[in-house]
């Protein structure tokens, strides 16, 4: 890796650090109904929507009521998306005559967008009609993010409320997330991206005469809008099949950095929001520091591993001074690609600007590792929830070690919280390991792997890790278009989202009912560097213990075979 690589990581970390305070404060004010500078414009709109939909924003629900409404709405959207994908052949706005999707593909696609995963099993240009693209995909890019964000908000309310089991009004929170957070941010950054060369037009493809005298059609469209919300909401589904490697999606190293910042922005700000809810900004900063440190380490490692091409490539006489350029765009080079890769897997976005399949074994291992940990920022909302699961366990161990019943921000962590937290903690690795192994054991599924040996294990593990972590990025090298993969990855996406949300919101409900204990000398403080260090240690050790065998047989085995 180069000094430029280091500098880029530093720039990203510093800019994110500068942005989380204003954005985090804004988000907090939105959800706590406090005054914001956008009130004059959005206030009347919000009031109109609430009145139109008969939403009483002051009517709050306990955790069960809150999550039921969230799941009902999410599943209604998924079902609606499924219908449109199935029936698109008979619906308008289908100039390319895309037929209705097969049930398994429609299921996979609907779940993928409904769960903020944006795994694209279909070929965008030929298999989805304009109606599907506009209504389903664009809608989900807002709604799935909003439901993730409000889950985190509900959890934080649970942490901060004093013997009050109510977590808020889901519908009001959901509408506020879209109207007051996602729409303004999307609009703002659309305007930033356009001058950088990202097209924003409703015209059809451009027809040009090439140098060879051939006619060529160049696809274009409202790319900037999509590109903005795709990254702000950690969605990741591209306008073009080439995703963020396409020059219209990500024209230059500058746009590359901006897209990276957009991916990290909301997840990082949510950590600051946590500090505000806990009335302890220092707490927010400490967790932010721990998570950003993890991000810096992983981004740095990816760059470092990618700086050396495989010896096999070296032996062919190819110039490898630029590092492992296989599968990377020359406009970005190794460092920018690696940073983007680490960001998209950390923040559960899933957009790609390089082929992850072509990374060095260890570089690829870091990318898959970021998704396995699922806590290096993570997606908007869901990421913070995953971080909080780890915080609960860190607090539990630390509390025991100082000789007190563990407590976090004055709330006792007792067997009910541990039991529910354990479920949330186990779901993610069990889902990944289970589906990966199942698919390697079933011959027809195993044959979908295009590479033999350890790399095949990595490819299979990546697919299910990406689905379970609701990331959506594809490693490649795996023919995933079969009904088997459509169904299994779809199920993994559902498990990775709702099987974690439900127990974790139950934890929030349980914590909300508890008293907040006063702090004393004997209380172990969670807003110190010591806690940050312990949190990092626990995340890495639990992650490593869980996934080490898979990583040993996949990327590590491949690495030692290649590099010796």
């Amino acid at each position: 890796m180069t000094y430029r690589g280091w500098a880029e990581i530093a720039i990203v970390a510093v800019i994110i650090g500068l942005m989380i305070k204003p954005l985090g404060t804004y988000i907090f004010h939105v959800f706590e109904g406090e005054h914001t500078f956008l009130d004059p414009i959005l206030g009347p709109v919000e009031r109109f929507i609430f009145r139109f939909l008969s939403i009483d924003k002051d009517k709050e629900y306990k955790w069960t009521g809150y999550i039921l409404r969230m799941i009902a709405l999410d599943f209604a959207i998924i079902f609606f998306a499924y219908l449109i994908f199935r029936l698109q052949g008979h619906l308008p706005l289908n100039p390319a005559q895309a037929p209705g999707m097969r049930p398994d593909l429609a299921f996979n696609s609907a779940v993928s967008f409904g769960t903020n995963t944006n795994w694209q099993a279909y070929a965008g240009e030929t298999q989805a009609s304009n109606l599907s693209q506009m209504i389903v995909i664009t809608t989900c890019m807002f709604t799935s993010v909003a439901s993730g964000i409000v889950m985190a908000i509900a959890f934080m309310r649970g942490l901060s409320r004093r013997a009050n089991p109510f977590l808020g009004n889901f519908y009001a929170d959901f509408i506020r997330a879209i109207l007051r957070i996602l729409l303004p941010l999307a609009l703002l950054f659309t305007l930033v991206l356009i001058p950088l060369g990202v097209p924003q037009t409703l015209k059809g493809p451009a027809r040009v005469l090439t140098l060879e005298g051939e006619q060529q059609e160049i696809a274009r469209g409202p790319v900037a809008t999509l590109e903005a919300i795709k990254h702000i909401g950690n969605n990741g589904g591209g306008f073009f099949n080439a995703n963020s490697a396409h020059p219209y999606e990500n024209p230059s190293p500058v746009s590359n950095i901006i897209l990276i910042l957009l991916m990290l922005l909301v997840p990082a700000s949510m950590i600051y929001v946590l500090g505000l809810y806990l009335q302890n900004r220092r707490q927010g900063w400490v967790i932010f520091a721990a998570i950003v440190l993890l991000f810096i380490i992983f981004a740095g490692l990816t760059m470092w591993f990618e700086s050396r091409a495989s010896p096999i490539l070296e032996e062919t006489g190819v110039d490898v001074t630029a590092g492992n350029m296989e599968g990377k765009e020359t406009r970005y080079g190794v460092d920018d690609s690696a940073l983007f890769g680490a960001s998209t897997t950390s923040a559960a976005t899933g957009s790609v600007n390089s082929s992850h399949d072509s990374y060095t074994p260890l570089g690829g291992m870091i990318l898959i590792g970021c998704m396995m940990l699922n806590t290096v920022l993570g997606s908007s909302g869901a990421g913070l929830i995953n971080i909080l699961i780890y915080i609960i366990f860190t607090v539990f161990l630390a509390g025991l070690m100082v000789g007190r019943t563990p407590e976090f921000t004055g709330k006792k962590i007792e067997s009910r919280e541990v039991r529910l937290g354990v479920i949330a903690l186990l779901i993610h690795p069990l889902c990944i390991l289970g589906f990966t192994t199942l698919s390697l054991a079933i011959p027809s599924a195993r044959n979908a792997i295009l590479n033999s040996g350890p790399h095949g294990i990595t490819e299979m593990a990546y697919a299910f890790t990406s689905a379970t972590a609701n990331n959506g990025s594809a490693f490649g090298g795996l023919a995933v278009s079969s009904a088997y993969f459509n169904v299994t990855t779809g199920v993994a996406m559902l498990i990775g989202r709702y099987a974690i949300f439900i127990p974790i919101l139950a934890v929030a409900g349980s914590l909300a009912e508890k008293q907040i204990l006063p702090e004393s000398e004997g209380t172990f403080r969670t807003d110190t560097p010591l806690f940050a260090g312990l949190l990092i240690g626990i995340i890495i050790i639990i992650g490593a213990l869980t996934f080490f065998p898979v990583l040993a047989l996949g990327p590590l085995a491949e690495h030692f075979a290649l590099f010796g």
């Binding site: 007190r404 067997s415 192994t437 390697l440 195993r446 204990l517 080490f548 030692f560």
Partner: protein, 683 residues
């Protein structure tokens, strides 16, 4: 002294008889029905059964390909059984020690005979073991009290040294706060009737023993929470190991079952899983060493979480016995005169108050020699005064009203302002004693509350633990403030009635705090019952002892501090060993994963960073280390990780360093050493 005996026993952690019994019990505990209560060790036992099966199969049919070998299967099976046995042994030792301690305490009460008062008024001699709750027994001077009970008639002095180690006799009388007697103590004077309050097997000692013994032991809340976490780790590692076969199969690498079971056992948290119940039992045992009997494990745990400590002033912060502070003469007499008479009347008085009068006199330079041929007038509960009758003069000191009566009876008039002077001393929180010569009251002695030496250091220690101390006293605010300042408590409530304690506790609990208190009176019982930790004094009433969840046999209220420390120590030991257990896993992966797959995927040999000798030696070393570490940590589990009141961050930093970082590094060294040893045998 019972207390010292207990501590002496703690010094040598295990003696031969105890170990022998524990070894036998560790085999008995292999019963799966018993072991299933501990899911982690249950999984190890199943693993041991599986490897033993493969060992037998290999031994009969020969090894069926792969990397198995008969000797390897035999050794792995053996060490897996050891792992279970070692964990059982830890639990058995802890139980055995608890039983031994209880036996020591119980020994006093076995061969006692009781004088049972029958309905027809006759007395029948029965064995103490036959007594039932509600029966009435008679105890006279020289009798050992046959069981716990309440005095319903009479007053007597009782020697409780068998239980408390305190040699000074105590007064036990019907009604009031001093009506409770304990089995095993001895009546020194007078006769009392006692209503037995517990059936055999229901006494505090029996309750304590049931907390220690396996069958009835209930898991405490925190133990349950931790068990859930351990089960979660076990599930994760079951899945991780289970998928290794199909994953490896994709690469044509199929590790043998024996090795996979070995990996599983190494990964699941056997260290903490094996020691968890021993830690809990040892916590209760440690309390017993301090002569505190816990009635529930939950209370021991709660002790570690205490936020507020409610302390009675008298007896806890200050000596219950007050010390002479000043001689104040009435008109016509001087200080030395009062001092002299007070000292003379105290020559036969062995109580701390009496001795303190002599000490004060000497300090003031009053020279008095004990006159010859005098008769000591002992203090009795009826006269409430004591003194000395000599040939020429008689000297008395005693309660102000008792002396007043005595003076009037002797034909003297009370000094002017007598009532006012007595009231004034009382209003200062001190106790006035009147002093009379030949029936003439010449002055008063002010007996003052003295703060126990070292008590402020103890409160300092509590503050460092994050515990707020609150003193409760019936004194006026002025006196209360003086004592509170001297003792260094954080807060005080003056002019409090015993009934006010309930309100105070509820108030603190309402803020989410955990409250501990000590008490001995019947009017303390409701407060003891709602306090999170209610430490009842053994000298207190039966009602108080039943309401509390701990009983202090020494009746030393300041012992709450030790109780809190033991509670914290319990949690710290659990947390530290859990951290250690999980940190250990990293090295085990590096030992076993390359060993499993090196033969098929040569590149993975690079992960063998310990450079272990062979596939078999690597796996066996990890399994042996895993088993031995349980035995090695038994003493720590029994003694507990040392608690220092350093503040939470310092403790955490220290324990992370020792058990976290240490837990990462230690097994790398241990496994390597065992491997070097195995290499000598070319294993």
């Amino acid at each position: 002294m019972a207390g010292n005996e207990g501590k002496a026993e703690a010094g040598k952690l295990m003696d031969a008889a105890l170990i022998k019994e524990a070894v036998i019990n560790s085999f008995k505990k292999l019963n799966p029905m018993n072991l299933i209560r501990n899911p982690v060790m249950f999984v190890v036992e199943i693993g041991a059964v599986i490897t033993t099966y493969f060992f037998i199969r290999y031994a009969i049919n020969g090894v069926e390909g792969g990397q198995g070998s008969v000797a390897f299967a035999a050794l792995i099976s053996l060490w897996l059984w050891f792992t279970v046995l070692f964990a059982n042994f830890a639990e058995a030792v802890a139980e055995g020690r608890g039983r031994a301690q209880a036996e020591t305490l119980r020994r006093t009460r076995v061969e006692t005979t009781a004088k049972l008062l029958q309905d027809n008024g006759e007395i029948k001699m029965v064995s103490a073991g036959e007594l039932r709750k509600g029966q009435v027994v008679v105890a006279e001077a020289g009798d050992v009290i046959p069981g716990d009970g309440e005095v319903i008639e009479g007053i007597a002095s009782v020697d409780e040294s068998a239980i408390t180690g305190e040699s000074a006799p105590v007064i036990r009388a019907a009604g009031g706060d001093f009506s409770s007697v304990t089995g095993g103590t001895m009546v020194l004077s007078d006769q009392i009737k006692i209503k037995i309050s517990a059936n055999p097997g229901e006494s505090f000692l029996d309750k304590m023993i049931s907390l220690v013994e396996g069958a009835q032991r209930q898991k405490t809340p925190n133990e349950i929470a931790l068990s859930i976490l351990l089960v979660a780790f076990t599930i994760i590692f079951l899945v991780v190991v289970f998928i290794l076969s199909p994953l490896g199969g994709y690469l044509e690498a199929r590790p043998d079952v024996t090795s996979l079971v070995a990996l599983l056992v190494c990964l699941i948290p056997t260290t903490i899983g094996g020691l968890l119940s021993a830690i809990g039992i040892a916590g209760i045992n440690r309390l017993t060493q301090y002569n505190v009997l816990a009635m529930s494990g939950r209370a021991v745990e709660a002790a570690g979480d205490i936020n507020t400590l409610l302390l009675d002033k008298t007896g806890t912060i200050t000596f219950g016995n007050r010390f002479a502070n000043e001689f104040s003469p009435f008109e016509g007499h001087n200080e030395d005169e009062v001092g002299e008479v007070a000292m003379l009347s105290s020559f036969g008085d062995g109580t701390p108050e009496g001795q303190s009068i002599l000490t004060l006199g000497k300090k003031l330079g009053i020279e008095v020699t004990k006159p010859e041929n005098c008769v000591v007038v002992e203090f009795t509960a009826e006269t409430r005064m004591s003194g000395l009758d000599c040939a020429d003069n008689s000297y008395r000191k005693g309660a102000a009203d008792a002396i007043a009566k005595y003076a009037v009876a002797a034909g003297h008039v009370l000094p002017s302002h007598y009532e006012e002077s007595v009231q004034f001393i009382a209003s200062q929180g001190s106790t006035p004693l009147a002093v009379a010569r030949d029936g003439d009251i010449i002055g008063l002695v002010e007996l003052k509350d003295v703060v126990k030496p070292g008590i402020s250091e103890r409160f300092e220690r509590l503050r460092a633990m994050g515990i707020k101390t609150m003193m409760i006293t019936g004194d006026n605010p002025f006196t209360a403030k003086t004592i509170a300042g001297e003792a260094g408590v954080d807060d005080f409530v003056a002019e409090a009635k015993p009934e006010d304690k309930m309100g105070l506790i509820r108030n603190e609990q309402g803020q989410g705090k955990l409250v501990a208190m000590t008490g001995d009176g019947t009017n303390d019982a409701p407060a003891l019952a709602i306090a999170d930790v209610g430490l009842a004094m053994n000298s207190g009433t039966q009602a108080a002892k039943e309401a509390g969840n701990m009983v202090d046999l020494d009746s030393d209220p300041a012992k709450l501090i030790e109780v809190v420390e033991i509670g914290k120590q319990l949690l710290i030991t659990r947390g530290s060993l859990t951290t250690f257990s999980i940190a250990n896993d990293v090295s085990k992966y590096f030992a076993i994963i390359p060993a499993l797959f090196m033969a098929y995927i040569p590149g993975l040999a690079s992960l063998n960073i310990m450079r272990l000798y062979s596939h078999h030696s690597a796996i066996l070393s990890a399994v042996i280390f895993n088993a031995l570490i349980i035995i090695a940590l038994v003493p720590l589990a029994l003694k507990g990780v040392k608690y220092r009141p350093l503040g939470a961050s310092a403790i955490l930093r220290r324990n992370i360093l020792i058990y976290g970082i240490g837990g990462l590094i230690a097994p790398f060294i241990g496994i390597k050493l065992i491997d070097m040893l195995l290499r000598l045998f070319h294993f």
